[in-house]
Point group: C2
Chain length 429, copies 2
Amino acid sequence: MPVSPLATPFPALPTLPGVRIGTATAGYKPWTRADVTAIAFPPGTSVAGVTTRSACPSPEVETCRANLASGQARALLVNAGNSNAFTGAAGAAASAAQVAALATLLDCDPAHIFPASTGVIGVPLPRDKAIAGVQAAHAALGTASWLDATHAIGTTDTFPKAAMTQAIVGGQTVTLVGFIKGSGMIAPDMATMLGFIVTDAALHPTALQAALTQATATTFNCITVDSDTSTSDTILAFATGSPLPFTGGATRAASGGGETTGGGEMSGGGEVAAIEPPPAFQAALTDLCRQLAQLVVRDGEGATKFIEIRVTGATTDASARTIALSIANSPLVKTAIAGEDANWGRIVMAVGKAGEPADRDRLSISFGGTTVAQHGTVVPGYDEAPVAAHLKGQDIDIAVDLGLGEGRATVWTCDLTHGYVSINADYRS
Amino acid sequence: MPVSPLATPFPALPTLPGVRIGTATAGYKPWTRADVTAIAFPPGTSVAGVTTRSACPSPEVETCRANLASGQARALLVNAGNSNAFTGAAGAAASAAQVAALATLLDCDPAHIFPASTGVIGVPLPRDKAIAGVQAAHAALGTASWLDATHAIGTTDTFPKAAMTQAIVGGQTVTLVGFIKGSGMIAPDMATMLGFIVTDAALHPTALQAALTQATATTFNCITVDSDTSTSDTILAFATGSPLPFTGGATRAASGGGETTGGGEMSGGGEVAAIEPPPAFQAALTDLCRQLAQLVVRDGEGATKFIEIRVTGATTDASARTIALSIANSPLVKTAIAGEDANWGRIVMAVGKAGEPADRDRLSISFGGTTVAQHGTVVPGYDEAPVAAHLKGQDIDIAVDLGLGEGRATVWTCDLTHGYVSINADYRS
């Protein structure tokens, strides 16, 4: 599979104290690449997570949900090439055995290990390969890089996707590293979205969960490649509580974040942490999640255009998001962008079908900053030339104002091309 | 555009007394084919209709909605090549002028004329062409056939689509003729769905509306090509109240329908008609609507497979329909079928994402009558051979049982192919 034309370079990522990465080859498919990843965290690491809303989740998703209750993590364990979803008792038992094997090696509670698997649905995780794989990954702890891990969790991803950011929290610079795989907001046989964030910030699990939940709402939950939601989607955030020394690199203003750390509880790392996430950390985490989410869209199956859709003037933010996703998921809008066609009639259609308050005669639509339609019809003297020029680029901006209220949302998607059909019409066979 | 591989022959259709068809060329596009259709009905014809739920409907849709209040129709007027949607005051005025011109020629109330337009969004109906076109179509009344009308209302349709049925109502045989255009449940620039049904049955408008609404729920509202809902979707049913003599052709048992005609009001045709539709008429109308709806799927853009999805065991019928449409609209399911891939994992995914009650461990899935998965995993000793053979055919059956309750629904769709992308990535330009 050729690299996405929307790919970006893999960033330079720092090591984080106490975080050890190991990868190994279990051989879930007939390949020699690494397909098992273990990342060990220091004792007292906080964890937060969001998982698929699918009614048919994988056993790994169910394990993560259960293990999030303690808020404590000692390791992440990822398998690529087999999602273990819809595999009944056999799949659940194999995953549990793999988790238990790693817990024995790390001498920790199995409830502090967070498993995730991605790949084909319906084939139980092969127990022997999984255990041998995790043992080899454990033996390799400390030898692998973030890039190695990003490659090892990938399936049909065409480029490795990661990001970092920093923030000043309570006068200390904290670093956030994230890496992600997925080539569709979901393509469940192969491209379920798994994303992992590690920070040296000291945060109570409750604060970390609140920050991740808030960040997800405007980032991971605002991207779509094909409207299909995975059985395995998982985002996990780990906070090791060991801030790095200030590096002088790109940082984020504290925005008063330091004022909110009083009265918190101890997290394992020995730093004082609040139940509420510091605003500076929240901003940095949201920024990181947005970068990761956008990278997934940039590796969307068959994508040739990166599309940002901003909806304003809706009755509520939720209504704006529904309308934005109606546009983003419309096969007709997506094929029009693929064809570089300023087909704003299809935007009208997608607004109209969203089932949310809209008034045809107050609607306005613009491409790349050029208004094409308003007051229920095309603008007088509409000149398509600047719009056509915008559509020939790789980054497409669509703005819709409903003229009804203050609700707004921004979502990101990609176009629908022959590449998507080629990839998905013969993946499994 | 080549004829759909799923095309069926145009049926033999009877003329109906008092119903006169005329077609003409307005020239909405640079073509010589007929693109204006007028059908005149005898005084006292009842009418019923269902229209798009889009929040951005065309002025023709708004006119139909307003005119349905009287329940009386004297003519249908259809333009093809221009949907007149999102064209502001200019488009609405042009449509009103065209309706007024036909009303003058027929010497009737303009509120008894039902306009519909299909084609590109955003270009106001050209008033002069529209008026000249409808005048020519009026002059041609009585000279055109159902086939002529079906061709004249089409846009990117690859074959003309019509159906007929008969029923015995109150001891009389009544005939129902329907014709339809559309190549997507919606592709709004070109393939909005317009369907028209004419019957010589004598029915009060309220009864006709009740029958059409009920029929639509399990037919037109249970098909999807691409999940995109048009700004112009319109189904109109006209009952002229002049039963044909019994023909000895295919008829439908009355099922007690005759018993329900007592106490009705007079409809214009002079027959006694009930407020409630006779059961035999209801059954015939539903059958006709199902035929027409399935024909639209068979002409779905790029379609190579006709797919029936039956969901049973849901908590309610509405829940079953939502789940069935989640499967039918999933790009991953549709591309899998295009690739003849028995990818039942994608069915699991689509059930899981539907947002309706489902239990992974009670779900069962079958293709072409062969159960492939149940109790949360693949069936023991699963043999893919019969499923693979079924998927090589043109008519694909997918059955999903949720094991939760008595709710059920059946929907129809087609596969997602390179043809769909080709058609839609460069339609307008």
